[in-house]
Symmetry: C2
Subunit: 425 residues, 2 copies
Amino acid sequence: MNEDASARLSRRRLLTGAVGLGAAGLGGAAMAGRALAGNADNLPPHVPEWTRTLGDGVGVRAYGQPSKFEKHVVRRDVQWLTASRESSVSFTPLHELDGIITPNGLCFERHHGGIAEIDPQDHRLIVHGLTDKALMLTLADLKRFPRVNRIHFLECAANSGMEWRGAQLNGCQYTHGMVHCVQYTGVPLKLILEEAGLKPNAKWILAEGADASAMTRSLPLAKALDDCLVATRMNGEMLRPEQGYPVRLVVPGWEGNMWVKWLRRLEVGDQPWQVREETSKYTDLLPDGRARRFTFVMDAKSVITSPSPQAPVAAKGFLVISGLAWSGRGTVRRVDVSLDGGRNWREAKIDGPVLDKACVRFYAETEWNGEELLLQSRAIDDTGYVQPTKDDLRKIRGTNSIYHNNGIQTWRVAPSGEVENVEVG
Amino acid sequence: MNEDASARLSRRRLLTGAVGLGAAGLGGAAMAGRALAGNADNLPPHVPEWTRTLGDGVGVRAYGQPSKFEKHVVRRDVQWLTASRESSVSFTPLHELDGIITPNGLCFERHHGGIAEIDPQDHRLIVHGLTDKALMLTLADLKRFPRVNRIHFLECAANSGMEWRGAQLNGCQYTHGMVHCVQYTGVPLKLILEEAGLKPNAKWILAEGADASAMTRSLPLAKALDDCLVATRMNGEMLRPEQGYPVRLVVPGWEGNMWVKWLRRLEVGDQPWQVREETSKYTDLLPDGRARRFTFVMDAKSVITSPSPQAPVAAKGFLVISGLAWSGRGTVRRVDVSLDGGRNWREAKIDGPVLDKACVRFYAETEWNGEELLLQSRAIDDTGYVQPTKDDLRKIRGTNSIYHNNGIQTWRVAPSGEVENVEVG
């Protein structure tokens, strides 16, 4: 038997022997099952409405929308979390998605002064400071520059922040939903800085947004010249308003707060600006009273999106465990999955493209017969870094932190198939 | 000077010497330019409304939408083209996009009986015919199978069909807008057929849709077992209604008509079914009265999306020419661009991932000083196939055809910067 045929047989045993996906075993299709029992070539026992009548023609929705049966697949926010909705978060429904591309309408939101609704005709990007000349660029100017396309994840530094003190929120949408992954189109920041001309003492860049919070962050010049983009597009089309329309900074692998939205100003300087968002916020208070600062990189992390509290196990038998992994230091080399809370690990299969500082999708297949599971995943990146346990993180950083929790997440699968967020050992 | 520094200098010359993108040269930013002239570190001369007021908070749009300033970026149809809008086409605005991913809301539509609005609870996929057993699968069943993620282009066989008789429609949205490219998540069709068990004489598959046209096509078994998917998702989320929600066939590289939407039935047989869509339609009438049939593969093709009739040249100087290329036989190996109607060619830069049967994005940089250009692009795939001229195609196939026009497209750039669809040679 050749390898292909052998793999096929093994797959078939997996599906038929244990799972019974065949018509006879399908509880949910009993009516149809009866029709099939009489004559395997029968058509379905009824002709549904949508086959009997013409549907809407073209042009009814010039810009398409999801099916009305998918209304539950939306970003959700937690109103008790923040004092106002203008400075708050809505989370990506990771448990309702697959693959690595996040559709633009479901990319999580994090605003500090609400969504700036910018008229692109009136928007300018200023580049000044330690440069040979100052630039004031219109959107039309930006669109004339050479551009590149890169698929990158964007993770808020506060993603999983509520988990520092133990399992809190029941669903990966809330525990991990401040991450998304799209294809950006943008001008390499390096080209724009070269156009302005850098003075010899240039070392840092200040990026400032045009929103009501005038969000500002300091960015080391080396990163700016490496892989940052001044992006105007996501997944082909112009940025969405809540993602910085018409222009945002893309800072691959680094915390989302630095990806300044509604970008209006880039100042070149010789030291960081020590702005609010890198001093009183976006720093991590350690047990000894000192704070970690300029913690730019989002370290390797992963989460199982299905099963998960919002996506319980549907039936006993063959089960595909699936999730996302990413690393701000490069590519994900491997993802391991545990069914028993981290005692035993097996390598998951990574499917689809493995790209620099982008999400990967992983799958692990198993057989579930109603026993309790403690599901975990851990990402290993191409630097050899292994995603740590939450306890390992707490030993070093204590529990005062909000940001940079990349600890291993645990989901408990109950005999009923329901799933809850738990802490282990 | 190291290579990097040399490249940088060369780039700077490109931008500053010739293009004058610096503040002094920016006609569109004159007011701001004055402010900058006095003090290069000045902020913009006014604080816009969106900086002075809080914007909408999170949750205002649980499913996000494009900016109100992008309302012109929509699918468009041509009402004189078809007798009814239920059996018609709307086109992807390729000239408004960049990168390779098409956002779901802008993927072109082609319906034969309107959009079936399917309640997923009531939908079944039947697998029967020359199989060991018949299957009737619910959507929940399908979601339990192993799945994969693949980025593929989908092109309607009739894309560019109106160009057989010469330049017709003035814009790549209309000449080439029946192509899109997304990441699909689906079950390999091979796994589903193996679950049913194939009889030894199985050679063809009939795929049937649940829409009012009950769209049917015959598919060779070898292709079905190779890379076809039974897909439920595009760009992470569930398929859009107009793209076959909740389940469609993905037939990578083959004509879009075979990617049966609203998939309800797969019948296994020993010969093709000779249905309407592979006899009176989706065949090519040759000059001698015979017709080409079962012309499944979409051959290598490309189009310049900017500049193009709907995206004229904005200004003299540095110009980035950009477009899409794809091949149904594998990957795109190279794209060439001509500025003079095909007399001279230069290699374009392919940017972003190069994937099997997926679009690639290409760029070519030039200097434009108001002279007439005859812009063309040609794709070369990894089989060595070179995209032909329209005349070469007509020599063999005549001008009766509607389908499979992958000829080289020509855009004439006038001294005004306006662009029109023309024929050369």
